[in-house]
Symmetry: C2
Subunit: 386 residues, 2 copies
Amino acid sequence: MNLRDYLTPAEWTRFREFSADKETPFLMIDLKKIKKNYIDFKRNFEQADMYYAVKASPSVEVLSVLDEQGSCFDIASIYELDRLLGLGVSPDRISYGNTIKKTKEITYAYDKGVRLFASDSEADLQNLIKYAPGSKIYIRLLVEGAMSADWPLARKFGCSMEEVKRLIALAKSQGVDIYGVSFHVGSQQRNILVWQYALMKVWDIFEWALDNEGVQLEMINMGGGFPSDYYYLTEDMDVYAEHINRFLEEYFGDRMPRIIIEPGRSLAGNTGVLVSEIVLISQKNQFEPYQWIYQDTGMFNGLIETMGEAIKYPIYTEKKGEKGEYILAGPTCDSMDILYQDFKYEFPLSLEIGDRLYWLSTGAYTSSYCSVEFNGFPPMKTYFID
Amino acid sequence: MNLRDYLTPAEWTRFREFSADKETPFLMIDLKKIKKNYIDFKRNFEQADMYYAVKASPSVEVLSVLDEQGSCFDIASIYELDRLLGLGVSPDRISYGNTIKKTKEITYAYDKGVRLFASDSEADLQNLIKYAPGSKIYIRLLVEGAMSADWPLARKFGCSMEEVKRLIALAKSQGVDIYGVSFHVGSQQRNILVWQYALMKVWDIFEWALDNEGVQLEMINMGGGFPSDYYYLTEDMDVYAEHINRFLEEYFGDRMPRIIIEPGRSLAGNTGVLVSEIVLISQKNQFEPYQWIYQDTGMFNGLIETMGEAIKYPIYTEKKGEKGEYILAGPTCDSMDILYQDFKYEFPLSLEIGDRLYWLSTGAYTSSYCSVEFNGFPPMKTYFID
């Protein structure tokens, strides 16, 4: 990997200097870069409202920067709601995107002023109609292509086109016009055409709703899924934006509804560098072709997205020279805490115990995933660089 | 599943009554049962010293019960060490079983008085010889059969017989006699014969060490791996003990070394009941044969051992009647937070939103695995029943 593909020399110097005297493991978040990413996103998706997916990097520091920029927010729970309200974010800038909600969670959010809710099942929809009257409800559509994402969305969320239509009709029969449709192409989606397939389905639903139920859907929530640069680089965001905006234009043209996007990983991913230290390097036996690197952070201390080796982070070391292939593992007594075993990272053979590894693009889905105390290890520290 | 296979009617009544007014999700731990399990274990392995694997259930409450019983403790980190010392456990009852240790962690434990350490690599062994002089060091042997465990140990820990011998010779060349050999058959190991294979290898190492290096190894640490009753019941612990004791007798007979065992899961597993609530039940579409149950706890709130559907917990509901097959998922916006999808649990079709699910045998490896705040959800509450 080439460091320059991820950080400018100035950014790297800043991370490097800031980190020098800190005890590992820890995460550094560059708040300037959060702001820059937000502005870039706004430029790329001019007509869209930005609802930052809080779960990606939920610290008060990150949320405050985005709040100042005027971002809206997508929440997964009432706890995220409370954090935002605590920062002074008004409830009309918040969307409750989790389709799995208890009645009392709906009531709680509604009482706090939230009026924008996702749904994908009859039971939840009935709850919203009953306990969140007058709210704008959008139905989440299942997008098959989501299986091609690095961190795929399986079938946990969303429902089929048929089911979306049934829910629109069901709401209509109770006097409620559904507000719009959402989809999520899968986290870290690389195939731009998945957005096209999704928008084609949404268009079909828009047409159907108007023709059959007299419901004019007003909003498309395109969710997140925009990729971040990990071990394998992605296209620039401009390329994604160019094509996605073209698809929108092709399907909706002069009848363009309100567009919402919910970037999380793509806004926060490249703002973080996680620093670990090599605790041990060992060769299991003389016939084993690979050496093992055990380092002081692992799957249960922030790197859980290495599960199934799904997310392959770019890992930088300052050591140089001839390279060998290594297996990477964490510090706990849990054997599941092996980060990369099938995919072999190459590092200089000059690596030694005590050396640091810099895990780039670790700004999203790291610190909040940490276990409270698995094997006694405390959650990872996070520092913010301004 | 049959509730009586897991809890006596009296135990169930106690759990049920205690839980009635508590808000889900939460975990209940029966401290009386911790004590009972400890006594049963002592009876089954009369000649062994018990080193409870703290990581399995690391609460002060559980540790205190075991401390009162005179248990020793196996630790995975200096944080677990501090907790034990804080309870007044003397360091000569503590074994530092994690083979992945920083120099400063070795120094820290040594300064606190710990003198029993595991190792499985040259670098760690050299560190122990240098920074923990006079300590009793045991080398961890890799046991192939460990791959047949429900939660297998892969190859992260332990080294080959050849490597164990090399390390014994290496220590000897520096004037240090290695104290013993440890192995771990894999967590939730059902195949009793794996202990036999392991002990055969240990016996070979004992013979070799005496014959070739003049080192009389004095201890066998058989680790943990004794299974707990999950969805699939295991043999009674008596059966495991009977055969394992027989293997020990067959190989070591009148030259029996000190025996250590490190039960964790088998001591704590059946002491816990996790209570969740059904948030949603949904059928994705009319052609989908299974319904989905979304409940208020999931992979990132204590049930991470459902990863890969490795640990299948017995799940009890009070509803009765005709059954159907369900897919079980957690409450977060993460699609990896699906607990069981390939393996289909059967529940009564009368199940409704708001019903409680009782996850039996959840005393080990649940609460400490919880994420700090993924999706904003707080770590699971734990209650202790005395």
